[in-house]
Amino acid sequence: MNELVFIALATLMFILMIALAVMVIRSKDLIKAAILLSGVSLIASFVFVLLRAPDVAMAEASIGSALTAIILVFAIKKTNRFEEGGEEK
């Protein structure tokens, strides 16, 4: 792969990943945060492909974006959906 394409893709992915991570932390709605978190994992699996680690990318894609998100959603359903001070918005 062209060096320039590689560096541009990596930069784009990291900007997206950090933006999504900040949105996870700032969001008051926990279900929304769980879904954004699965987005972080999906982009991370793309970065693993860029780093020539297809095995790790497969594991991260299926665990990070499917199973972690659903386990978080199950736990949130047993507790509160909103963080304190987030319901009235």
């Binding site: 095995d55 497969m58 665990i63 499917a66 199973l67």
Partner: protein, 260 residues
Amino acid sequence: MMERTTFHRSLPAIALALLFAATLFVAFVEVDFGEPRIEEELPVNYQPGEEIDTENITTPGLRYLANSSEETGSANLVTAVVVNYRGFDTLGEVTILFLAATGVGALLSFIKDDDEKKKKKILPPSLILNKGARLVLPLIILFGVYVFLHGHLSPGGGFQGGVIIASGMLLFYIAEPTKGASHKVISIIESTAGLAFIGLGIVGLMTASKIFLANDFAGDWGEVGMLVSAGLLPLIYIAIGFKVGSEMTGLVEKMRGDGS
């Protein structure tokens, strides 16, 4: 107004986190990105494809790269490291996984008691989800089995295949909120797979090298690239696949609880 107070409160946290990142970054300036660090011990005028003397090599990565196709017969070097060179380590990881899954079940059994009162009504899923999941589930499980069967030839392996099967079962749970796989069947599959892992390790004790989890049949049954080329390695990965798949399915089912 509200926003400003929360921002004020988290300002020290942001400062601390950035300080931490800056400290680590200063440390990582020394670590070159993309350098062939594992190959520092190679001879000076080394050509790719040349034979190297692995007796004096101390870097594990280089030694594994040089010897793995003769020693393990696996085309996927990550699989060779996970199952063959670090097989005992993987047995430990699988044990941690089992302990965590058991811990989830144990903690949930303590918590459950006062949950019975407020049982919510379960909404039935839509027809499309229900029927579509029935159609797709066998294909997902077939794909998972393919991934862990070919773990030594293509990207993938027991961990990935098991997790793919678990996500297929997750789709089934969403489509059928009242049903679930039998706990008994899951635990039987899980313990059989764990025992198979240890049994295949004991086979290594009985063959030529007399080492636990040794892979003495590597290359005896075929060339690198064939399904049977890697000796006991695919069998161990199949055991790991069944174990991880059943454990993750059990974990998701325990977290789901009784139809809430």
